[in-house]
């Protein structure tokens, strides 16, 4: 069954999707396609419509207009068939607290129609893969937050779904747990499962995503690979500089026309610049003019966070202009 739709190379197809809650428009004309395999990051500020999109894709919410197909199947026409091919991890760890970890996985295997021996072996395999084999006989409610999150993701994979929806998978986790979870997500994607990821952690999206879509106020405003998005915001780059004496971010911004944004972090000025060459010349002029020396200079491509903020700013400005 996997092969049929994989030939088409489109795991998720959304066209002209709209949804309103009363007078509030949550999604208006959202369209995108997610290619089979890999990780698709669906980003946006709070209230942008990310969770509404996932709820519609998962068959939890009806849509007002548009088309939604997963693995070639329309979500409204074949909800049960679609649900058997997707796994969904919501932003909360919602397994049965009173049931043991293994029993949780076996029960979900029953609900997804796995045979008795298959669900037992799948549960064992997932407990191993997610580093929870030693916790197999503990009630889910007694696990740490990181372990709960891992088991919740494992539970969404119990039926080997073709598309996995992950809503804020690492929110609230400590650094080692979040890192370990990201490794697991990468592994899941390597195992041919398409991952649809929403997250507020843009560094996480940058690490994991093959493709990114940015949703603002219910509309997709940018879409492409991380590099393509960087290109669309004008090739801005990040520069970190340390002078021999203190220079304020305001002074740097006022003296250097190439600097778009300036801030201070750990004793260094962090600048987002329009052009690297002109920025370095301007910073050299500033140092000479102030009688200072440049002690340290680091150049880096912009992060996804820089690009995201840039796109948000542009969108806000466009919105204000339009209003």
């Amino acid at each position: 069954m996997r092969e049929d739709w994989q030939e088409a190379q489109v795991a998720v197809r959304v066209a002209g999707l709209s949804k309103s809650y009363g007078r509030l428009s949550a999604l208006s004309g959202v369209s995108f396609e997610v290619q089979t395999g890999g990780v698709f990051a669906y980003l946006g500020p709070n209230g942008a419509g990310k969770t509404t999109t996932i709820n519609i894709l998962a068959g939890l919410l009806p849509r007002d207009a548009g088309e939604v197909a997963i693995c070639g199947l329309d979500v409204s026409e074949s909800p049960v068939a679609v649900k058997s091919r997707i796994g969904v991890v919501t932003d909360s760890s919602n397994l049965y607290p009173e049931l043991r970890c293994r029993r949780n996985l076996v029960y979900l295997g029953e609900l997804y129609g796995l045979g008795a021996s298959e669900r037992r072996s799948r549960a064992g395999q997932l407990l191993e893969q997610f580093g929870l084999a030693e916790q197999a006989d503990r009630p889910f409610g007694s696990l740490s937050r990181g372990m709960k999150r891992r088991l919740t993701i494992a539970a969404a994979l119990v039926h080997d779904p073709e598309v996995l929806f992950l809503d804020e998978p690492t929110t609230g986790l400590d650094v080692p747990s979040a890192r370990s979870l990201r490794q697991l997500v990468k592994q899941v994607a390597r195992d041919r499962t398409t991952v649809f990821l929403t997250t507020h952690n843009l560094a996480e999206a940058e690490t994991l995503a093959d493709e990114v879509a940015i949703l603002i106020r219910g509309r997709i405003v940018a879409r492409g690979t991380v590099d393509e998005l960087h290109g669309r915001v004008g090739g801005a780059r990040s520069v970190a500089v340390r002078f021999s004496a203190d220079v304020s971010p305001e002074k740097a911004k006022a003296s250097c026309p190439s600097v778009r944004q300036a801030g201070r972090q750990e004793g260094m000025l962090h600048l987002e610049v329009a052009g690297l060459h002109s920025a370095i010349l301007e910073l050299s002029d500033l140092a000479r003019h102030e009688g200072l020396q440049i002690e340290d200079l680091l150049c880096a491509p912009p992060s996804l966070e820089d690009t995201f903020v840039n796109i948000l700013d542009r969108n806000d400005r466009a919105g204000e202009g339009g209003e």
């Binding site: 998962a58 068959g59 939890l60 649900k83 049965y96 609900l111």
Partner: protein
């Protein structure tokens, strides 16, 4: 695996998680047993007139409450959403939840009946009709509990909502007062209550006779209420259980 087998999976899990726990089992047995024993000690001959009503009342309160508690608890923990995300039809989820609550009500009532027969010499003229009454009543009342709780967030909201129909049903259904002794204007209202027909079936099971006339009247009426609840509950669930 068919949707029917998944109904059984949901029910078995709920019995394991909730209904098989000692506090619920003892509540389901002790509440009616204590009431019946109190009436028995006062009037050893007359307690049999009230016992079927108390069993029916326990089914109504036990099943609606337990179904509502499970639904609101699972809404709060997010596990109800997990069922909605699984490849299950709405009917499968609703029937799975109702079946476990109904099994709880039937099991406690049967154990209670065995105790009454063994220790208080309660007759059981038609055991089949007695069990049929339990089946139809437990199914209907469990579905009513699901209907009342799926739209609310907290258990107390569900209880408040259900008390709007449970206490009036108790009043009009001949639980404590034989239908023949009711005021003339309350008689027709009694026929509109599912509890009336369930209590009547239990009464026939115990005594072998009915105040409602031939056995097919309470039997078909109770069955109709169950069918209506089966049709309404999935619709209400579909409308109210999905996230806003």
């Amino acid at each position: 695996m068919s949707q029917f087998l998944r109904v059984l999976c949901i029910s078995r899990k709920d019995v394991e998680s909730y209904y098989g726990k000692p506090p619920l089992v003892t509540w389901g047995l002790l509440f009616p047993a204590v009431l019946i024993l109190a009436v028995y000690l006062k009037d050893r001959a007359g307690y049999l007139a009230v016992a079927p009503g108390i069993i029916g009342m326990t089914l109504l309160f036990g099943n609606t409450s337990m179904a509502a508690i499970v639904i609101t608890f699972e809404k709060r923990t997010g596990t109800l959403e997990r069922l909605l995300l699984a490849p299950l039809s709405t009917q499968t989820i609703v029937l799975g939840k109702a079946l476990s609550a109904a099994a709880y009500g039937i099991a406690t009532s049967v154990v209670l009946a065995i105790g009454l027969v063994a220790f208080l010499n309660m007759p059981l003229a038609s055991p089949g009709v007695f069990v049929l009454g339990l089946l139809l009543g437990a199914g209907t009342f469990s579905l009513l509990g699901i209907i009342a709780s799926v739209a609310v967030k907290e258990v107390f909201e569900a209880m408040t909502l259900m008390n709007f129909f449970r206490f009036p049903l108790l009043f009009v259904s001949g639980v404590f007062m034989p239908l023949a002794e009711m005021p003339w204007w309350l008689g027709p209202v009694a026929y509109l209550s599912p509890l009336t027909h369930v209590v009547e079936l239990i009464r026939i099971g115990v005594h072998g006779g009915s105040a409602l006339g031939p056995i097919w009247i309470p039997m078909s009426s109770a069955a109709l209420f169950l069918v209506a609840a089966c049709l309404v509950a999935p619709r209400v669930f579909r409308k109210c259980a999905t996230p806003a």
